[in-house]
């Protein structure tokens, strides 16, 4: 099998409702695939099924041998009664070395946060710590389930640029769910539009112009997509295409 993950005829029930029916899906090494769809379209259900949190009622999920998955959850609420440093959080459930922690934080664009309390982080920093944790295992596939929920526009744009950087550095595939169509679609190799089943899929341009997609999201997004792609050729917020060194400051900017 050449695919990292291949799903055929998948149906999943959640809360007594058939959330996904007859979904075919695959992702290859190094690819960025984005799943879009309206609320309740089964996007998170698909992610949870892939990580094994939900059992399908029908269909097959084939994973490449020895596949390592890094998972960034939709939202993580840490109860205020639970003290947790960044370093300790990264060492769950497996203890990892100091060096591995620093390296993962660095890849996620963070520095010197290891001793901080999770509760004291800004939204952007918190998401990057989650990303760092997902990167610890040197994954073949990174799964992000609406990882930028709660971040503002520049914050989430910076986060997605970090993801692209991680992908080019580690060569891992990225599978993500997002609401922010214009940002995400510009960064994706393939887009899958989900609404209980796969409505349409293909390159961002193909999906954006597909009638099924327009029926769900209207034509406005197509315009936004064009606008963003145009923007993307220019430099952002004073840092130009030589991203690698400037990005580390973004979480702090996003926090303000």
């Amino acid at each position: 099998m050449t695919h990292l993950i291949e799903i055929t005829g998948l149906s999943v029930r959640q809360g007594g409702v058939l959330a996904l029916s007859d979904v075919d899906f695959h992702i290859d090494r190094g690819e960025i695939v984005t799943v879009v769809g309206p609320n309740g379209s089964g996007k998170s259900t698909l992610m949870k099924t892939i990580i094994g949190a939900l059992k399908p009622v029908a269909g097959r999920i084939e994973r490449a041998k020895g596949l390592r998955v890094g998972y960034v959850p939709q939202q993580l609420h840490i109860d205020p009664t639970l003290p947790m440093t960044v370093a300790r959080f990264l060492g769950l459930p497996k203890r990892v070395s100091r060096g591995a922690i620093e390296a993962a934080l660095h890849k996620a664009g963070l520095h010197g946060l290891a001793a901080r309390q999770m509760a004291g982080l800004s939204g952007g920093q918190f998401q990057r710590v989650l990303l760092a944790r997902a990167l610890l295992d040197d994954p073949d596939l990174l799964i992000l389930d609406e990882a930028t929920q709660g971040l503002d526009q520049p914050g989430s744009a910076a986060f997605y640029r970090q993801i692209e950087e991680v992908r080019s550095e580690l060569g891992c595939a990225v599978l993500m769910v997002s609401h922010e169509l214009h940002v995400v679609m510009a960064a994706s190799d393939r887009v899958i539009c989900l609404n209980g089943h796969v409505c349409c899929h293909g390159t961002p341009e193909i999906v954006a112009s597909a009638p099924e997609y327009r029926a769900l999201f209207g034509t406005g997004t197509g315009g936004a997509l064009a606008l963003y792609r145009h923007d993307h050729d220019h430099s952002h917020e004073g840092c130009d295409h030589d991203h690698a060194h400037d990005h580390h400051d973004h979480p702090n900017e996003a926090a303000e």
């Binding site: 094994g52 890094g70 009664t81 003290p83 947790m84 959080f89 459930p93």
Partner: protein, 272 residues
């Protein structure tokens, strides 16, 4: 001559055993917001006491059995999206009421009900001590073995799944440990105050801790101080021992809260 001949020594050791087991477990009860769950399990165990006495079984076994049934039932139902608050209220207090009624039917056996409701730590015998420490060691071993998995599952069930941990299994581990702690703690603080031994020391430990492990260790320390202080206090003021232990823990909690509140107001700069 044996140090265990002294009832105060036995009481202190029994209390320390319970404090040790309750600390790490109590942290999870606090982190996962299961306070009422602990209460329900404890209250139900009085029914176990009644059943044990009527069938001439060991009180410990009866309480453990009913606590297990209660904890498992609640655990299963909570996964199905019932209105937990109401359900727990119904089950906990019904079980307590049925337990009290059942005890009243027991003729011939003279039971000091107060001993089970509020504990009777001064009457702890050698066998009790062995049971308490056996249970405490079991619980501490169980929780330490599953510690990382339990923490991950507490943070987020999906995160646990992605790391190959089944959060439902971890929940079951906690449930089992809780039932054991309830059963061994009856003699020490009684069914009405077990939840306090679980919750008050971790709550008092929270401001001092920067990691989950530190919080569990400090909880154990605060629990131990409460037990020894409570025993001493009960002796000095001639008060019931179990409640006095809980009073000391509560006073510690109050002092710590006021202290850290003042420090936050004064410091402002320090990270929380």
């Amino acid at each position: 001559m044996n140090i265990l001949d002294n009832f105060m020594t036995r009481a202190a050791l029994a209390g320390l055993g319970v404090a040790l087991a309750a600390a790490p477990l109590g942290c999870f009860v606090v982190w996962r917001r299961m306070a009422y769950f602990g209460d329900a399990t404890a209250h139900a165990s009085i029914l176990g006491v009644a059943l044990a006495l009527s069938f001439n079984m060991s009180v410990f076994a009866g309480a453990l059995a009913v606590a297990l049934v209660m904890a498992t039932t609640v655990s299963v139902l909570s996964g199905r999206g019932f209105a937990m608050d109401t359900l727990l209220g119904v089950m906990a207090h019904s079980a307590l009421a049925f337990g009290l009624v059942a005890v009243s039917f027991l003729k011939g056996v003279r039971i000091d009900l107060m001993a089970y409701l509020f504990g009777d730590i001064l009457a702890v015998g050698r066998v009790d001590l062995a049971v308490i420490w056996g249970g405490a060691v079991l619980v501490v071993a169980l929780v330490s073995w599953r510690w990382s998995a339990l923490l991950t599952a507490t943070l987020n069930p999906d995160l646990a799944h992605a790391s190959g941990i089944d959060p439902r299994r971890e929940q079951l581990v906690l449930t089992l440990a809780l039932a054991v702690v309830v059963a061994v703690a009856i003699k020490v603080v009684g069914v009405l105050l077990i939840a306090a031994m679980l919750i008050v020391p971790p709550a008092a430990a929270r401001p001092f801790a920067r990691t989950p492990e530190a919080m569990a260790a400090i909880s154990a320390l605060i629990g131990a101080i409460s037990v020894l202080g409570g025993l001493q206090g009960a002796l000095m003021f001639d008060t019931p021992t179990g409640p006095t232990i809980v009073c000391v823990a509560a006073i510690l909690f109050l002092a710590v809260s006021v202290g850290s509140g003042l420090r936050n107001m004064a410091g402002q700069g320090g990270e929380k």
